[in-house]
Amino acid sequence: MIQFNHVSKRYAQGHDALKDVNFTLATGEMAFLTGHSGAGKSTLLKLIMLMERPSAGQIQVGEQQLNALGRRDIPYLRRSIGVVFQNHQLLFDRSVFDNILLPLQISGFAPDDAARRVRAALDKVGLLTKEKMSPLALSSGEQQRIGIARAIVHKPKILLADEPTGNLDPQLSAEIMQLFTQFNRVGTTVLIASHDIALIRSMGRRVLTLQSGRLLSDG
């Protein structure tokens, strides 16, 4: 589902974020991406979403060679990927419901169909009763779950998460991880960047370790 072939990324300032990274993530697989901060975790995720372009090498997501995609194709790539951010990127000028609705509006779903899907997503993260509230009124754990609901509401084939448990206590973190495992169980390919080694070990999944831009271990 995701394939990196000799991928390097050098930023304009001359800093090498990734050096010759190779790995393949099979369809339906769940893996963790770990490493110290600055090791290149975020860069790797950004490359998959085409928020950045690689300096060298090829990336394949699904059937698509990312190098072959132009600027106009990027939105359609992103619609096939769900992303959860550390700072959840929720919009505080609208309700929880409208936040989760946004990807469906963008993809052009009919309103009643979209509303049904939003409620289904809210139900999955256990926040169905909070749809009318402002995200500001929620705890950070709840905000993160709203972020997850938004990431999976359009049933993407790939789910990426960048430090999804960064600000949460161990118990909330475990709950969030439980959610990701559930999505993986229904066939979603999941890649989670995290530096929480203890949590990752407890999950018993494949771990990709980055150190100063190189992929150290895979397994």
């Binding site: 928020m51 990127q89 919009l91 990807p103 963008i106």
Partner: protein, 338 residues
């Protein structure tokens, strides 16, 4: 669909499945083509409505912007319609252009009379008024009050005059006609009674050029004011743009609400400008009527009219749209998720 209840089981309508359209990300959403165009239309209507709603949520700021735009539109709009009125008046006068032929003093009254009758046969003359030497003298005596002095003259010094109304209206044709009359042996001098009209036309040409320049400058103002307003709007909705792009919004999708905002600014400003222009003409109606009466005319002022109003609205909406387009083009690309 009828709402029969009971034993009849309503089958859910089968969902048409979209044909796979190549390796695009959204292919698994099963949105058929018709559904897609329906959604697209609904999205446009929604965006259009919500753009208006957003304007109304900040009534004071929006009203200020609209006031500036409306003033910038009212001024050229009013001046253009004033020019139109002037043109109508000038054309009315042009129809009354006369050529006065001062005949040779040596011509006898009988010859002058024959000459006048000949002229009457020509197609390019609408009407003729003969003023014989006698008539001329009597008229002059009556108007000037010098009848006593004139009585002392042994000879009538005035020539016979033929005043004719040509069918031609254009300045060029009239000039040619005048020259051809002057070439006739019976005519001493042909005077075209329109020099002042030419001056008026020259002044109006100048005024119309000035109004165009002003119109362009104020149109540019509208463009820039809307552009700047939209730039501020883009800045204030930065988070929304970033998140939308992250979850797969196209450039067009992100652009749309701002273009509609520009459209609304243009439309509302045109409406306000239209009302103020019409109000200004309404206020001028009575004084103009009084003035026209002094000239024994029944001139009716024309406001913007249908075409003028149409022009005002089209220009304003286009300027609003273009101003928003400029701002969006300039700033949206800078906002990319980091």
């Amino acid at each position: 669909m009828d709402k029969k209840r009971g034993a009849v089981r309503v089958q859910p309508t089968p969902k048409p499945v979209a044909e796979p359209k190549g390796p695009r990300g959204a292919e698994h959403h099963h949105i058929d083509r018709k559904g897609h165009s329906d959604n697209w239309r609904r999205h446009h209507v929604d965006v259009c409505k919500s753009a208006l709603r957003k304007l109304l949520t900040t009534p004071v700021a929006s009203a200020m912007t609209i006031a500036v735009l409306a003033i910038a539109l009212t001024l050229p709009g009013f001046l253009f319609s004033a020019l139109d009125n002037m043109r109508t008046i000038a054309t009315g006068w042009e129809g009354e252009t006369r050529i006065s032929l001062y005949l040779q003093p040596s011509l006898s009254d009988a010859d002058a009379d024959r000459f006048g009758r000949q002229l009457m046969l020509r197609d390019d003359i609408a009407a003729i008024d003969m003023i014989s030497r006698e008539q001329g003298l009597r008229e002059f005596a009556r108007i000037s009050g010098f009848s006593d002095v004139l009585d002392t003259l042994s000879d009538n010094p005035l020539p016979a005059v033929v005043v004719l109304m040509p069918t031609a209206t254009s300045t060029k044709d009239l000039g040619l006609l005048r020259a051809s009359f002057e070439a006739l042996p019976e005519v001493d001098e042909a005077v075209l009674d329109m020099e002042w009209l030419q001056r008026l036309q020259a002044i109006m040409g100048l005024a119309s050029r000035a109004v165009y320049v002003l119109g362009v400058l104020l149109g540019l103002t509208v463009l820039l004011v809307i552009g700047n307003t939209i730039r501020v709007a883009i800045e204030s909705r930065r988070d929304e743009i970033v998140v939308s792009k992250l979850v797969g919004a196209t450039d067009a999708w992100v652009r749309r609400p701002f273009l509609y905002t520009g459209f609304w600014y243009g439309l509302i400003a045109a409406l306000v400008a239209w009302v103020s222009i019409q109000a200004a003409w309404l206020m001028l109606e009575q004084p103009v009527e009084q003035l026209a009466q002094l000239y024994r005319s029944h001139y009716q002022l024309q406001g913007l009219g249908l075409m003028g109003s149409l022009w005002l609205f089209i220009c304003s909406v286009l300027l609003g749209w273009a101003g928003a387009g400029l701002a969006v083009h300039r700033h949206l690309r800078d906002i990319e998720p980091q």
